[in-house]
C-alpha cells in the first residue's frame, strides 16, 4: 500500500489539519509504512468474528432525562480565544 503526497493532502483536508507542503512526502512515506503493517491482518480469517468495541461488551448506559448541570457559561468562555456578549466569535461566514 503506497500513499502519495496528494493522498496526504486529501486526508489532511478531511481532518482540517494544516500540513506544511514540504512535510507531505514524509507523511506519505510514514503512512505507507504504517499501512504496510496493517496488511498483516489480511491473512486472518475474521468472517465469523464480531467486532469488539468495549472490552466487556458493555453497551452505552442511559441516564434519566433530568437537569444535573448548572450553566457555567462565563467560566467556560473565560478560556475561549474570542467571545462577545456570551457568543463565540469566528471569522465571518456569511457575506
Amino acid at each position: 500500500m503506497s500513499l502519495t503526497a496528494d493522498d496526504v493532502k486529501k486526508i489532511a483536508h478531511l481532518a482540517r489539519l494544516g500540513i506544511n507542503p514540504q512535510d507531505e512526502d514524509n507523511y506519505a512515506q510514514d503512512l505507507s509504512g504504517i499501512l504496510d503493517l496493517m496488511v498483516q491482518m489480511g491473512s486472518l480469517d475474521t468472517s465469523e468474528v464480531l467486532p469488539m468495541a468495549h472490552p466487556m461488551d458493555q453497551s452505552q448506559r442511559l441516564r434519566p432525562d433530568k437537569v444535573t448541570e448548572q450553566n457555567q457559561r462565563e467560566k467556560f468562555q473565560a478560556i475561549a480565544p474570542q467571545v462577545e456578549e456570551g457568543l463565540y466569535l469566528v471569522p465571518k461566514v456569511i457575506e
Partner: protein, 483 residues
C-alpha cells in the same frame, strides 16, 4: 523523607515524625533541585502548601485516610480546576481547565497534596516522552536515555524520588513501559475500573488511568483512592472496589503462572529474557507452578492497535478547533483557515501522523477494510487471553523488548517506535489489568516484569507483585545522584 514509601510516610505523619507541610516542602525542594529532568510541566507550590496545611489539621483531628497529607502529582492529562492542563501540547498550552477530573476530585477528597502536573508525550501519543511540546524528560538512571512514554514525567519523577506516587494513563502501555524503563511499579487497571471523566481522551476504548509508585503496596493505596464507578464516565463499570491492601500479604502457594511462548520469541533482548526467567524462578520458590500458554494472534496486536487508536484519536481530537478553548492561529482568513491552521500549528508531528492515519482508516471505502477488521482482530486477541487465563491465574512476561533507548534514537522512525509496544498493547486491546514491577538490571538499566491478570483482579496482581517485592530489592534501588 524522600526515600520512604507512601505506607511509611503515612505512618510518619501519624506518629508526628514530620508534618505534611514539611513533607511537601521537602519534595518541592527536590523538584527544584532536579528540574533538569524536565519531569514537571507545572509546579503548584502555593496550592500544595495550602493543601498540606489543611491535611495537617485533619491529621491532628485524627484523620484515618492513608492518603491524608501525602504528596502526589498528576499526569498533565487530568483536568485540574484552575490549573493549566496542557496534555503535553501547544494546543492546550493556554488551557486552564474549568473543572476537576474525577480522579483529581478523589485525591482531593482523600486529603492528598498535589505538587504539580507531570510531563508526558503530546496527547499521550508516544513511547519516549519525546513528542511533548515541553521537551523530552530525562531518565534518572541515564540522562542520555528516554524515560519511556507516554507517562514519562510520571515515571521519572517517582524514580528520582521527586514525589512518592503519581498518576499515569495507559492506552497502549503508557504506564507499564515507562515504569519498566525507570525501575518503578506501574499498574494499568481493568478498562472501566478508574473513571476517565476529565482525563483528556486519546483512544476512548483503550484509555485507562492508574497508579505509578515505587512499591506494589503503594500502588494498592493509590488505586484504592482512584478506583470506582463514576456516573460521569459512560464506560465506567459498576462493580464494588475491594480492599486492595487486605489481600496483598496472602502467600502464593498454588499460584499458576502462564508464560506465553510468543512473548519470548524473536526481538526480545536475551538479557531481558534471562531476567524474566529468573523472576519466574523466584515465583517458583514462592510456591507457584509455571506452564506455557499460547497467544497465536499476538502478532496482529500492533496492526490492530495502530488502526483502532488513531481512528479514535482522529475523532476525539476533532474537538480542538480553535473556537471554544485552546490554541487559535493569528488572523484567520475564514472559518476553514481558522480550523486548519489552528490545528496545523497547535498539534505536533506525531499527533498529526495519528490523526492522518485515523482519518484515512475511517474514510469512506476504507472503514470495513481497516477499522472493522481491526475490531474483529481485537476480539480474537482478547479471546486468546481469555483462553489462557481460564488455565492459569496470571500471565507473566517482559514489558519491553529492550531497556531504555537513547534520546533521539527512534524519533526518525515511527514504525520502530510502534514495534517496541509489542508486549503491552495487546493487554489494552483485551481491556485486562496488568502491572509492571522492577525485576533486575541489564547494563545498569532497569528491567520490568509484566504480570497480567483476570478482569478486575487488580487485588490479585498487587498481591503477586507485593510478594515478589518482599523477597527482592530491585524496587528499592535508586538511581545514582538521586539517593
Amino acid at each position: 523523607m524522600h526515600t520512604k514509601t507512601i505506607a511509611e510516610l503515612a505512618r510518619g505523619l501519624r506518629s508526628g515524625e514530620f508534618s505534611s507541610v514539611e513533607l511537601t516542602r521537602n519534595f518541592l525542594d527536590r523538584i527544584t533541585q532536579y528540574q533538569n529532568l524536565n519531569a514537571f510541566i507545572t509546579v503548584t507550590a502555593d496550592q500544595a502548601l495550602a493543601q498540606a496545611e489543611a491535611a495537617d489539621k485533619k491529621l491532628a483531628a485524627g484523620s484515618t485516610g492513608l492518603m491524608t497529607g501525602i504528596p502526589i502529582a498528576q499526569k498533565d492529562i487530568f483536568c485540574t480546576d484552575g490549573v493549566k492542563t496542557s496534555c503535553g501540547s501547544k494546543m492546550l498550552d493556554n488551557f486552564i481547565a474549568p473543572y476537576d477530573a474525577t480522579v483529581v476530585t478523589k485525591f482531593n477528597d482523600a486529603g492528598a497534596v498535589m505538587l504539580g502536573k507531570l510531563n508526558m508525550d503530546e496527547f499521550a501519543m508516544g513511547s519516549s516522552n519525546e513528542t511533548s511540546f515541553y521537551g523530552p524528560v530525562l531518565n534518572p538512571w541515564d540522562t542520555n536515555a528516554v524515560p519511556g512514554g507516554s507517562s514519562g514525567g510520571s515515571a521519572a519523577a517517582v524514580a528520582a524520588r521527586l514525589v512518592p506516587g503519581v498518576t499515569g494513563t495507559d492506552t497502549g502501555g503508557s504506564i507499564r513501559q515507562p515504569a519498566a524503563l525507570c525501575g518503578i511499579t506501574g499498574l494499568k487497571p481493568t478498562y472501566g475500573r478508574v473513571s476517565r471523566y476529565g482525563m483528556i481522551a486519546y483512544a476512548s476504548s483503550l484509555d485507562q488511568g492508574g497508579p505509578m509508585t515505587r512499591t506494589a503496596e503503594d500502588a494498592a493505596i493509590l488505586l484504592q483512592t482512584m478506583a470506582g464507578f463514576d456516573e460521569k464516565d459512560s464506560t465506567s463499570v459498576d462493580k464494588p472496589v475491594p480492599d486492595y491492601l487486605a489481600s496483598i500479604a496472602q502467600k502464593l502457594d498454588g499460584l499458576t503462572i502462564g508464560l506465553p511462548k510468543e512473548f519470548f520469541g524473536e526481538g526480545l533482548d536475551a538479557g531481558i529474557a534471562a531476567i524474566i526467567e529468573s523472576a519466574v524462578d523466584e515465583y517458583r520458590r514462592l510456591g507457584a507452578t509455571v506452564k506455557e500458554v499460547s497467544m497465536p494472534n499476538l502478532k496482529y496486536a500492533i496492526p490492530a492497535y495502530y488502526i483502532i487508536a488513531p481512528a479514535e484519536c482522529s475523532a476525539n481530537l476533532s474537538r480542538f478547533d480553535g473556537v471554544r478553548f485552546g490554541y487559535r492561529c493569528e488572523n484567520p482568513a475564514d472559518l476553514t483557515d481558522l480550523y486548519t491552521r489552528s490545528r496545523g500549528e497547535g498539534f505536533g508531528k506525531e499527533v498529526k501522523r495519528r490523526i492522518l492515519i485515523g482519518t484515512y482508516a475511517l474514510s469512506a471505502g476504507y472503514y470495513d477494510a481497516y477499522y472493522l477488521k481491526a475490531q474483529k482482530v481485537r476480539r480474537l486477541i482478547s479471546e486468546d487471553f481469555k483462553k489462557a487465563l481460564s488455565d492459569v491465574d496470571v500471565i507473566m512476561g517482559p514489558v519491553t523488548p529492550s531497556t531504555a533507548f537513547g534520546l533521539g534514537e527512534k524519533t526518525g522512525d515511527p514504525i520502530q517506535m510502534y514495534l517496541s509496544d509489542i508486549y503491552t498493547i495487546a493487554i489494552n486491546l483485551a481491556g485486562l489489568p496488568a502491572i509492571s514491577i522492577p525485576a533486575g538490571f541489564l547494563n545498569a538499566m532497569p528491567v520490568g516484569l509484566q504480570i497480567i491478570g483476570q478482569y478486575f483482579a487488580e487485588d490479585r496482581l498487587l498481591n503477586v507483585a507485593h510478594q515478589y517485592q518482599q523477597v527482592t530489592d530491585w524496587h528499592q534501588r535508586s538511581p545514582k545522584g538521586f539517593e
